[in-house]
């Protein structure tokens, strides 16, 4: 007798994603979609897609979606939540989008304490355009546009967004998670749930930074990419909660 052991979340459409093999976006999409479904938010949510690898997220999430200009997702989300204060509004952004071209929008949406969720996917590289150095690329990291490795006296230092944002009074919750092993994925899911719970309860700005892998542009196998997250990213980008107003945790 056959029985169903797994069903795709209703939070995802049936459109096949375009993500590369071994890319973490699929896992992160799934976690967000499951959370929205479990919290019965699919009908009441408007998501904002970025420019970058996740640009087509507007096709994949089974909620109303707006596709924002590069880096502007937090401003677009601000317009949405101010217009629709009783909806759930979230952005889904990569590191180039959030921490380079959209730094101002990110910081100010956070400072205003906009009641939105930001899912920040940090894979330390520009994926969509073919692997250029990102604001979060690590020192020494070789990319298409840092062929001799990122240098602190040239490109400067990688930005730790969660730490930076957690200093702002408007931020309710800032946590960094990873999705490169099963326990990490479970923790990531909890963080995403908490962020949306904050949003539904109008607690203000929540950001979940997810360390993600990009085997294609890192030039390694998916398995090696998962290891690279632990060996290279986590030491610079420590996992954990940097701010949680609900738990009295301040930066």
């Amino acid at each position: 007798m056959r029985k169903t052991v797994y069903t795709k979340s209703k939070g995802l459409t049936d459109i096949p994603t375009h993500y590369c093999p071994g890319c973490s976006h699929g896992i992160i999409h799934k976690l967000v979609a499951e959370t929205l479904e479990e919290m019965d938010l699919l009908g009441n949510t408007v998501g904002v897609a970025p420019v970058g690898c996740a640009v087509l997220a507007y096709e994949y999430f089974n909620v109303d979606m707006v596709e924002a200009p590069h880096g502007r997702a937090p401003a677009v989300a601000t317009g949405l939540i101010r217009a629709l204060p009783d909806r759930t509004v979230f952005t889904y952004q990569g590191d180039g989008d959030l921490a380079a071209i959209g730094t101002a929008e990110t910081v100010h949406a956070a400072a205003r304490g906009e009641n939105i969720v930001i899912i920040f996917v940090n894979n330390a590289i520009y994926g969509m355009t073919g692997g250029q150095v990102a604001p979060t690329s690590l020192i020494g990291q070789v990319t298409q546009t840092s062929p001799y490795g990122r240098k602190e006296n040239h490109e400067g230092f990688p930005i730790r967004m969660c730490e930076l944002l957690s200093t702002l009074n408007g931020v309710c919750y800032a946590e960094r998670v990873a999705v490169n092993n099963v326990p990490a994925i479970k923790k990531a899911k909890k963080a995403i749930q908490k962020a949306f719970d904050n949003q539904v309860n109008k607690r203000g700005f929540s950001i979940v930074e997810v360390l993600s892998s990009c085997p294609t542009n890192w030039g390694m196998s998916p398995v090696d990419a998962m290891k690279w997250v632990d060996e290279n990213m986590v030491p610079y980008y420590p996992l954990g909660c940097f701010k949680d107003k609900t738990a009295g945790k301040e930066a």
Partner: protein
């Protein structure tokens, strides 16, 4: 203009803001810049009183993208700025156009290029009528020349923007924004247009909506652009607006819009007093340009004189509208200097051989 007790005296910038509120706009996102200042200030005072939102963004770029967000929700939303700020907003305007979102953008022009100056100018003409951002698109551009007309055109701009699903712009300048004039607010009439495309949450009762300007398949993008082009053709057919003054028997017709048209009108009156058959053609829409009316006028006049607070950006449109059949002279001031009626009169007299 109506006469009597219902007339009020207001600055152009404040009248624009009040008209927008009366037209049902409840969301305003802006960034401080002279000389549109009073518009934002008025919104910040009044919006909370009518249950609306005024939010000062961290940048012009953020402001126009907040407009994009609120417009996606299907609401009447606006922003205002002045020339340098409009340059920054062009990215967002392109996305709004590409996403078929209606909204209202006010440009109270100042002198440029660069930081330029803060005095009135009309140097954004080419930018807003020809290329208000990257890609193949247009926005509706309305050019009021009085405070009353600023009010009237705000209502019209919101309405037409929603009808055609395009961004609309009110193109004013520092003179119109700063001056006070009597005006009468029209009877409030909201069309209450349904927006089934808005992203408000599907409530599990309809297919999901997507507001988007990305089409990775070239044939789909061409199809989308052609569909939008058809709307543009309809706009060109139906929405050209202009005003003519003393043109019936005119031999020399001044073509001017906005503040320049006020000055030109005074000059035309003076020319008539001197026995010169002068008239005024005033475009009210700059896109679509009122080619039909100007073309018809070109069949009967001897000479056009384009008067602008720029270095002649509108001249080509006058020539094209009249198929270059009639000579087009130009007089303009720039840098923030307002031409005087005397200067314009002198140009008319020169053309009349006086």
């Amino acid at each position: 203009m109506g006469k009597g007790a219902e007339r009020v005296l207001m600055k152009g910038n404040e009248a624009l803001a009040e008209a927008a509120i009366q037209a049902g706009c409840r969301h305003f996102f802006g960034y401080p810049i002279t000389p549109q200042t009073e518009l934002s200030a008025y919104m910040s005072r009044q919006m909370p009183k009518v249950g609306g939102i005024y939010l000062q963004a961290e940048s012009e770029i953020a402001a126009i993208n907040m407009v994009l967000g609120a417009a996606s929700a299907g609401l009447r939303v606006m922003t205002s700025s002045s020339s340098p700020g409009i340059s920054l907003k062009t990215e967002g305007i392109s996305y709004l156009a590409g996403s078929d979102l209606p909204c209202l953008i006010v440009d109270i022009m100042r002198a440029g290029p660069g930081l330029g100056g803060i005095q009135p100018a009309q140097g954004d003409y080419n930018q807003v009528t020809k290329a208000p951002g990257h890609g193949d698109f247009h926005i509706l551009v309305f050019a009021p020349s009085s405070v009353q007309e600023m009010v009237d055109l705000v209502f019209l701009a919101f309405d037409r923007a929603e009808e055609y699903r395009v961004p609309a712009m009110i193109l004013g300048d520092g003179l119109l924004g700063q001056m006070m004039e009597p005006l009468v607010f029209p009877e409030r009439k909201e069309e209450g247009r349904k927006k089934p495309w808005a992203t408000t949450g599907h409530q599990n009762s309809r297919p999901k909506n997507i507001v988007n300007s990305l089409y990775l398949k070239a044939n789909l993008l061409e199809e989308k652009n052609r569909e939008r082009q058809q709307r543009y053709e309809k706009i060109i057919e139906n929405e050209q607006r202009s005003e003519e003054y003393l043109t019936e028997d005119a031999e020399i017709v001044v073509v001017a819009y906005g503040a320049s048209a006020r000055i030109a009108r005074s000059a035309v009156n003076s020319a008539r007093e001197k026995g010169i058959k002068a008239g005024l053609f005033r475009p009210i829409t700059l896109w679509p340009y009122p080619k039909k009316a100007l073309g018809a006028l070109g069949e009967k006049v001897k000479q056009f004189l384009c008067v602008e607070m720029s270095m002649g950006q509108m001249v080509d449109d006058v020539k094209l509208s009249t198929s270059c059949k009639v000579p087009v002279a130009f007089f303009g001031r720039c840098g923030g200097i307002i031409p005087t009626p005397q200067e314009v009169l002198a140009e008319i007299e020169k053309l009349a051989g006086r």
